[in-house]
Amino acid sequence: MDLSEFDKTLNIMPGQVHYYDEVAKEDKTANEIEVIWKHKYLPVSELKYYLREGHEAWEDKVRTREQEVLEIWMKELKYSSVYFKVIDKKIIEKGKVEGEKQTENWLKPNSSNVLEPKEVDEI
């Protein structure tokens, strides 16, 4: 099942928050941002996340939370996490062979994707 049709809204919270800027070596203030995920048509919860504007790990943390949101929605839709997982915003069955690339990775887990082959002369 495709979960990708959702809206992600960012709101600025009232008041400023404090943090230590390690580059400038001084205390600073910033806006706190509320991120809201709401699916367009599936009967799942509206979920949120709060983080400082300009946080060094903004993308990483919001991406992690988004994956968590999708996994919560998966469970709300009665998919068991024992048998299903969310990959690329889709609910897929664990262990199911989706394509040739997956099979190739199982057969050669450290293939040329890890270390590009070099000509002997070049080495």
Partner: protein, 229 residues
């Protein structure tokens, strides 16, 4: 990133620094050792869920998870006629690697554990430690003689690995694939100690080799947190 070590500090600042899924601020989200607050020295003043109550003052100077990686390690014996025991995650034939938090700071460089291939952080001997990073690590001097500290889930320092004097170099006459990290972000201790380089003066034998300064490579066979700055 950290919270201020003195002055104004409130619930919302803690939430905004560590992240929160809730519009209500629950300090008990942030017990040391939980998903938002790793058991690293900067968070030593924050109590664990089993040792007492939390207050805002516990969070002065505290670090969010941003600068540290979390790795779920295990031991794995390859079997066969010449068995090798690996410690860590992502070792050959064990799947894609289990690193729930891939981002970390190496010196002043923000980077991540990163495929291609798998998320690797494992060792099979005191001389064979492998990690896969993003490509922004290639040729980055933050890797030269860089200490990697490993903390267990109780917050104890269980090991310290230091990269060699040749780590973080790029260019020169050595193939990019043999430098540490190489052009794909692959750090291999053997290459760090052997072929990596050359140094700015043209020598590739200067300075100390990569080695464990305390603990041993076997500490990677458990869940641990990495501090590298």
């Amino acid at each position: 990133m950290t919270l201020p070590s003195s002055g104004s500090l409130d619930y919302n600042s803690i939430r905004a620094e560590f992240g929160s899924p809730s519009s209500n601020v629950y300090l008990n989200l942030y017990y040391r050792g939980g998903p938002y607050t790793y058991p690293v020295p900067a968070n030593a003043n924050i109590t664990t869920s089993s040792s007492g109550q939390l207050s805002v003052s516990n969070f002065y100077g505290a670090d969010s998870t941003t600068d540290y990686a979390k790795v779920v390690g295990q031991s794995y014996n390859s079997g066969g006629k010449a068995p090798v025991t690996y410690y860590g995650t992502g070792m050959p034939n064990t799947g894609g690697g289990d690193i729930p938090d891939t981002s970390l700071k190496v010196g002043s460089l923000s980077t991540t554990f990163n495929p291609p291939g798998s998320l690797d952080c494992y060792a099979s001997s005191a001389l064979n430690f492998t990690m896969t990073f993003a490509t922004n690590t290639y040729g980055n001097s933050n890797f030269t003689l860089r200490n990697f500290y490993f903390y267990n889930t109780s917050g104890s320092l269980i090991g310290q690995f230091r990269t060699g004097a040749q780590a973080g170099w790029s260019g020169g006459s050595q193939p990019t694939a043999f430098q540490a990290p190489n052009q794909d972000g692959l750090y291999q201790q053997a290459f760090d100690n052997g072929l990596a380089g050359p140094s700015a003066t043209g020598s590739n034998t200067n300075g100390p080799a990569a080695a464990w300064q305390s603990g041993a490579y076997t500490v990677l066979g458990q869940t641990f947190f990495i501090k590298a700055f």
